[in-house]
Symmetry: D2
Subunit: 379 residues, 4 copies
Amino acid sequence: MVGGGDGAFIGAVHRMAARLDGGYRLVAGAFSSDAERSRASGDAFGIDATRAYASWQAMLSAERARGDGIEAVAIVTPNHLHARIARDCLDAGLHVLCDKPLATTLDDAHALAQAARAAGCLFGVTYTYSGYPLVRHARDLVATGALGEIRSVQVRYAQDWLSEPLETAGNKQAAWRCDPALAGAGGCIADIGTHAYHLARFVTGLVPNALLADLASLVPGRRLDDNAHVLLRFENGARGMLWASQTAIGNANNLELAVYGSRGGLNWRQETPDELWFTPLGDSTRVIRRGDASMSEAAAAATRIPAGHPEGYLEAFANLYGDFAGAIRVHRTHGRCAVQVGAFPTIEDGLEGMRFVHTALASSHAGGVWLPLHGGMPE
Amino acid sequence: MVGGGDGAFIGAVHRMAARLDGGYRLVAGAFSSDAERSRASGDAFGIDATRAYASWQAMLSAERARGDGIEAVAIVTPNHLHARIARDCLDAGLHVLCDKPLATTLDDAHALAQAARAAGCLFGVTYTYSGYPLVRHARDLVATGALGEIRSVQVRYAQDWLSEPLETAGNKQAAWRCDPALAGAGGCIADIGTHAYHLARFVTGLVPNALLADLASLVPGRRLDDNAHVLLRFENGARGMLWASQTAIGNANNLELAVYGSRGGLNWRQETPDELWFTPLGDSTRVIRRGDASMSEAAAAATRIPAGHPEGYLEAFANLYGDFAGAIRVHRTHGRCAVQVGAFPTIEDGLEGMRFVHTALASSHAGGVWLPLHGGMPE
Amino acid sequence: MVGGGDGAFIGAVHRMAARLDGGYRLVAGAFSSDAERSRASGDAFGIDATRAYASWQAMLSAERARGDGIEAVAIVTPNHLHARIARDCLDAGLHVLCDKPLATTLDDAHALAQAARAAGCLFGVTYTYSGYPLVRHARDLVATGALGEIRSVQVRYAQDWLSEPLETAGNKQAAWRCDPALAGAGGCIADIGTHAYHLARFVTGLVPNALLADLASLVPGRRLDDNAHVLLRFENGARGMLWASQTAIGNANNLELAVYGSRGGLNWRQETPDELWFTPLGDSTRVIRRGDASMSEAAAAATRIPAGHPEGYLEAFANLYGDFAGAIRVHRTHGRCAVQVGAFPTIEDGLEGMRFVHTALASSHAGGVWLPLHGGMPE
Amino acid sequence: MVGGGDGAFIGAVHRMAARLDGGYRLVAGAFSSDAERSRASGDAFGIDATRAYASWQAMLSAERARGDGIEAVAIVTPNHLHARIARDCLDAGLHVLCDKPLATTLDDAHALAQAARAAGCLFGVTYTYSGYPLVRHARDLVATGALGEIRSVQVRYAQDWLSEPLETAGNKQAAWRCDPALAGAGGCIADIGTHAYHLARFVTGLVPNALLADLASLVPGRRLDDNAHVLLRFENGARGMLWASQTAIGNANNLELAVYGSRGGLNWRQETPDELWFTPLGDSTRVIRRGDASMSEAAAAATRIPAGHPEGYLEAFANLYGDFAGAIRVHRTHGRCAVQVGAFPTIEDGLEGMRFVHTALASSHAGGVWLPLHGGMPE
């Protein structure tokens, strides 16, 4: 693991997700650029003192020298370091599981993607919400035609934690996320808008060919957007609407997806992730629950406990870790990865997310105009 | 009443709404342009045979000749007749309660509005959703500053009844609503988008100065839009997003409004109209119920029965009728109307709705571009 | 109408319900035992001054003398007068629509029922909740075997308006409802427990043969029960549980019914009456909405407006009035009533409710023991 | 760990819960009485082959002989073995975390409790639902008087997985749970009723002094109860109602608690565990979410991730494991346990659960009569 010292939010989430199913052992890390803090974190995580490094470079060279060196790396640093670290890990022949965004510019992301394709290592990106069982079931419903031809997509991701100017009030999370130098040019659109976009793409499989964005900084003085309105047009003629906000008081992580087709509609909310509402044309709505007999194979495989005993975010995250572990096992045997598309989000998804954010920023800066959004998920 | 013969949907709603509180007596009507059918309807409604007319012109002249002639008219005909009938009623010195839209073109609507302003009669437009008690409470929360400065507005009106091409399958409602000659140039945007727009304007009081619309006919072969995506920019810098659809399978009349300000957020859904969710900044969400002690005066006045015994659409509709009756009583006494803005939607709201639809159509036809939307609710 | 002077709660509800569908005209009443107040109320309701009487006796004799005298009477007085007035109305050959309870003692109720059976007039009892369309659909689901053999019934009616000792604080509604002399020996069990019981009986058709009740006065100093726990055993072996409370803070009129059978389960809540949740064995839950294609004929007939535009308590109440009007029309033609069982609650249901309350009180007074509960709905 | 071989349901849950926060290492186990299967399971769990034992006795003696032997044991076998194994573990000086029930008879449970009190080891019982953060917050709301004097408690635990006679259809879980020889004399009442009872006791702290139960086997041919109706009377005069069922089609693990006091009411549902509805007297309902600023210290401490990212059953389970780990650490330092009551359910809770089941069975067998239920949680 690179980053994620004791106290960091997302690092702890990664560790819990990795531990939950017992498929990983955390044996080394560069948890902080401060040697002392990295060692202390390593200690807290039960890691051998010699393997808590002061830099990722030190980690990579020392681990390579061991017979039992690490096999995969989780990158959980601030955004602006992702690309450099990931590149070095790939060069070291390690599998990489990286938080989004891949990089702070689209060019850097393209370069990294090219490197990853060449490297022959696995590269996963933690678009967490695709790990929920009922999101996978939704995807399968669409794929098997239960909704018919998709006509419209509504997706929202609303938070409220940035409703006040916390970035000037000593809140660390807010400070780096609202600072263009550390977070990149996108605020809310990059932080959570990209999750909403990936979710819509993951479930529908639709390829958008144009978007229009109206981004705003609704909190006075904020330097990055904290509210994003995006319109989408898909190749097949379907239309989409995406709203992301970090200033919507009363919403914690209210990610919601609705998909409408010619034969049915579905609705899923991350805050009640164990339910999927599905309405066949002309019939009553079904409340599909994780564990129902009708669950698709993929959804059932992403489930640990019976229906009615709720699973949540950590379990979804652990599903990505589990998928990634499965891919590593395949890779060990077959040399190259033979994992089916969609089992976990790959670098192509990460790149697509970068493209989305980049285009949305360009559209909004131009006053809110339609811009082409080339290409689909796997180029 | 003009239109609304036995069997018509909205005419029956008007009659129930008018009856509920006992403030009106239906004594005359031109229920159909077929004399026989008009008489039969009048008979069904318990109306004296001599007062069931074959045309509104006949009704107006005959009623004017009576000592006890009608005092107000409800216009519930197909859209393309609204303006002509309303004009004639105003000329006859009658108060008018008219379904939206005012007319099929913005020019006609402007002309009618001018006539109405000159006439000195009352003119109400049935933007029904503003009649719900908790919508009025929401408006009062905003007005009293409970939400602080408004930053963002999300409004949706999703139906599914036009998910199939019913207009070519013998469905009368669908046939006229999807025919430009009878419904006007707007489909979904005019039929329900305008309701969503009015609701947002009613609750927030915000004045939008630009919009951008992406309208689509998602059902193959449909001649009018059945899905509308609209972005809004308000004078105070707030942003808005509006989605209206008649092809969203699983939604019956899913009208939902969320308003976010610097100090709080609120959420209301028409399908559960007796609840309003309000979250003050930094605090837990409140589920405000019709009848709670905290209800505003206006909301409490729009309530008939205790909390927990649900009121619905007809009661909201009856609230408009009740407000209109109150205004008529004031008018009787004081010669001119002295009713406070907001008690019921007026012709200015009707005009604003026309302007919204007109601008949205123009924006969409231009490929989805920003257009100015002049003016606010009361010009 | 007897009782229900201007300002009274349930009288106003009756008038709105009667007006909604235009099937009734209120032409006479004894709205108060105070002649002046009765006249003033009559005036407020638009009734001819000569027909606003100071007593029901005066009303009955005067109306009988008219050629156009009243045909039916709604009794909305305090409980202790119901039986006497109803008896006199029957003797006058009038149809009666009476609030529950029929009487303050079971013996009086039996006597009244016998009189009603002999009289050949219609006798309706306003068990309002059976008027909801989805309650009727639930009944039809059970009747057609969609749930299989019924095994268990859970019903609750929770309010909170008596959580404080309002009866000693000047609240009139609370004062008479908590006074044994005016309300009878049952408090909460009689006021709302009987509604819950009727709802369970109406939907399931099951005949209970024993009950056990534990009634309590949870607010210190209260003279009647304000919380009721009741266990039921049905003839077919099914079990039931009923909870009624007027001290459950956070509940307004939270009436909820769940019925479980060998092939399915259903759930309905009065506060969201337009939805019925139905789960077939081994399948996903269906959210059945008023207006869904699958609605039973009886449910569809009790519906006025399309799904998604909510109907509520007044509409349910109006359905009882409508059913009663239909029965009167049949009665006019055929001499005797030929209306199918279940269209509206009859005196037999009123009697069954009395029996339930009587037995529950006896069980509780004996310390909470099982007592037989003879008989079913249609004796 | 004793029991919980590869494939067993609850063993896997224990392992995930133990792993989630990294506080435990699973190093030894007697996963099956079949030596081969135990070894295979140990292998699957990554355990040293020499420490996967064929019996708990073998495990206890071998581990005692090691310098680095186990410190605590999780007992996840079928019910009838709990008491013997626990006793042996205590004798070996090990801390015990045991599934409920403690034993198959109340006498055995008493004996075990006495042994545990004498042993000076920690003894936890996995009443999982007390691990949910908002259950702990609910407890703190009651304890700090936010609800005033508690007046009534409603608790339900409804499942549907035994709606058919699965025990005769080859379902293993059903087979042992419906077999008196393996599960004990209680079916549903012992399997889930006791969870509901513990939850009510945990949150309210109320001591019941009498209960009455009506247990039934609603599925023809079933040998144990599958539906339980229980009435409770508490020392302070409050009343309670408990419903547990495994035949309520449409319910997966619908555990719901409502508590009403003189100053407020609260409601919590296990299937949406991140919300707690709290209504102060005379005010609007609050939707308290995990992570809200108002959370009690205990609730906040039981939380891993921000509000809106759902936590579920495994996290609640892990909270018990975490509390138990904390107690073990204290025990290491201070010799004896000094952990505050309530941090995790202890053997006294386990004993209270046995007493509840025992008394409910006795009451029901006597036809449904009131029986005293001596004692409270901490004797």
